[in-house]
Point group: C2
Chain length 421, copies 2
Amino acid sequence: MNKKSSTTELKLTSNERLSLNNKINLYPKKYINFVPEGLQLFTFNSGFKKQLDDLLIVVFDQVVNCKSVYSKTSTPSAPIIWDKKNNKGNVKALVVNSGNANAYTGSKGIQVINEYVDFLCSKIKCKKSEVLVSSTGVIGEIFKSTKIIKNIAKIYKTKNTSLLNAAKSIMTTDTYPKISIQNVKIDNIKFKIYGIAKGSGMIKPNMGTMLAYIFIEISVSKKILERLLKYNLDNTFNAISVDSDTSTSDTLVLFSLNKKKVNLLKNKNLLVLNKAIYKIMHDLSLKVIQDGEGLSKLIKVNVQKSKSKNQAKNIAFSIVDSPLVKTAIAGEDANWGRVIMAIGKSKERIEQNNLKIFFGKNLVCENGKKSKKLNLSKLNRYMKNNTIEITILIQNGKFNHTVYGNDLTYKYIKINADYRS
Amino acid sequence: MNKKSSTTELKLTSNERLSLNNKINLYPKKYINFVPEGLQLFTFNSGFKKQLDDLLIVVFDQVVNCKSVYSKTSTPSAPIIWDKKNNKGNVKALVVNSGNANAYTGSKGIQVINEYVDFLCSKIKCKKSEVLVSSTGVIGEIFKSTKIIKNIAKIYKTKNTSLLNAAKSIMTTDTYPKISIQNVKIDNIKFKIYGIAKGSGMIKPNMGTMLAYIFIEISVSKKILERLLKYNLDNTFNAISVDSDTSTSDTLVLFSLNKKKVNLLKNKNLLVLNKAIYKIMHDLSLKVIQDGEGLSKLIKVNVQKSKSKNQAKNIAFSIVDSPLVKTAIAGEDANWGRVIMAIGKSKERIEQNNLKIFFGKNLVCENGKKSKKLNLSKLNRYMKNNTIEITILIQNGKFNHTVYGNDLTYKYIKINADYRS
């Protein structure tokens, strides 16, 4: 499976979203049925959602290495505070609930985690520091630890489930489960990397997105796990924005399952692994953005020839987060004047007469004004596509950055004005 | 007329917007009929709009002092570039057109301005440096100078018009004209300050808002005009945000009409003038935000006891600009968890356990969790108000800042997805 195929599988038709089952069927059968080895996945309904599973418990066959990144928010959820304090990169189990974020719940929120983690530790015989926890859903509501404890009591009694079901159990406003699988070969040793993610709104990650877990079958040291995250974060999960809102719960974890060994001291091998990690992070982050709340179109913004990475990034997000750019694209209106406006408001110093802006392959402006070659009927046809790609040449340097977002529609308003009612 | 009466006059009923004439009739009759002295106002239709007037020409009886602030955007419109280059604070005439922003029009845009300004200068006998120009409307489209020149030829032949008609002629997506009048008395000398503004979308001014012109009947030096702007900008036009998008055309000008003289060397007198200027800037900026595209509710955010003015400002805008906070308020949902999220994403360092958050007078959270005293039915009733006031005590310092915004509704999407089609 390569990057291209994985990200096109779930392409949505404009103005028409598929039902959950139809979307799942866009995954290849071997994905749908994939049950991982080296860990056991259990899902339950704990009453956070009405009927669907809302609790995922992952128990690893052995204590494995992991490396996490969390939201840089100054109002982190209780699970993030708890993980940062307790976990040192060795993990035997992961507990994730959806439907309640356990955020802004004070010391009571921490106490709830301690209660269900204590129970889990006695059940599977591990240390408290070997458990990771995450929660996603409504902010500011406390819940009872018994909701989770009563289901921890059932693990091993129920059957180990598929990766797809695990991905389903962590969904909130997501309209489909997000999984990605890579087959990798290093030094003739074949292994898999696979992951799950969730997220649809409150998505402008700042060091990880809502929730994403990636499992690598081979042994990888904590130091290398950290480097793999660092290399790939900025161009994957940190390059997407649904609505410019950053969650209190963003969490991304890489796990090394330790089932096989390859020599990662060889630079060539590390590069192969790094590329596979990039692909899986890119694929999962695109699946999140493709499921952006209420979206009808995907927006890809490439800022090129910029004087710094940071300038390219700021300008790209200023465009992809602009409500006026997003609504124009929803209306299939090639209103490139709003792109000019969004570049201007980014506070980055640029020379407006040097800009070149493309919608797809259509050059819309250059030399500080509308391009003379612009074919309006061709441009208007382009705007009917499901993905709108905007490319800006700044022409004051050599740095590029690409970010992904989506349009702003009635449906986003509907989903978020009615969320709790 | 005091601040309170002027800002409540145009209060809109939820989900119901008044027709243009009904809204105008909310102004007192003496406002509607007010024709200024010391300057002449001419309005025309130049074909930017289909039928309504879209061109305002102001000719001052004498060359007067003025001081302007402009958008800090890096993609300023041609009029802003032209004004900054040519005008040195002495002005005999002002030309404003609506319907075309003359932004991103390159050297051609500057040439168009030179053409109509040259014609105006020969017509009214003044220097090029004594003319100010502004344009508002669509970005990236050039227009012919003859559109404006043919109407400049008609001034003096037509009758001087009212302040209200002047305000009407600069509207774009505005649903009503914005005027404000203050009667001031200093050392027993009575005089007026009055102003007009326009703006409804692309509103997060960064040094002025879309277009606003304020006329002071007395003599004020350029230095004092500058101080008056500086003192009042941050708490008026720079404290509002409709959609977090900053225009390419934001312009605010204070004119001193030189009709009367008062002693402004007396500190007491300067304070009276400063207060009157604050009131008129506050009133006009609130009228802009009350006309925010598609709004159903006004949002007022007070950030208090913050460690710096800048921290208070960043947190306040992070809340008022958050799509998730805005949609929750549109849905009359007291989803204070999203306020927590927006505080967190602001990147300001705060201690979440010290926060106190109020919706109106309802304390929703303290000590890092939901308030025990919270009366949910009372809170839900509060959410039905036309203005929702959110107050946050940060409790790490002594600085306060208040900003105004509005909710995000279907109508905003409708207005902006269909803008050009």
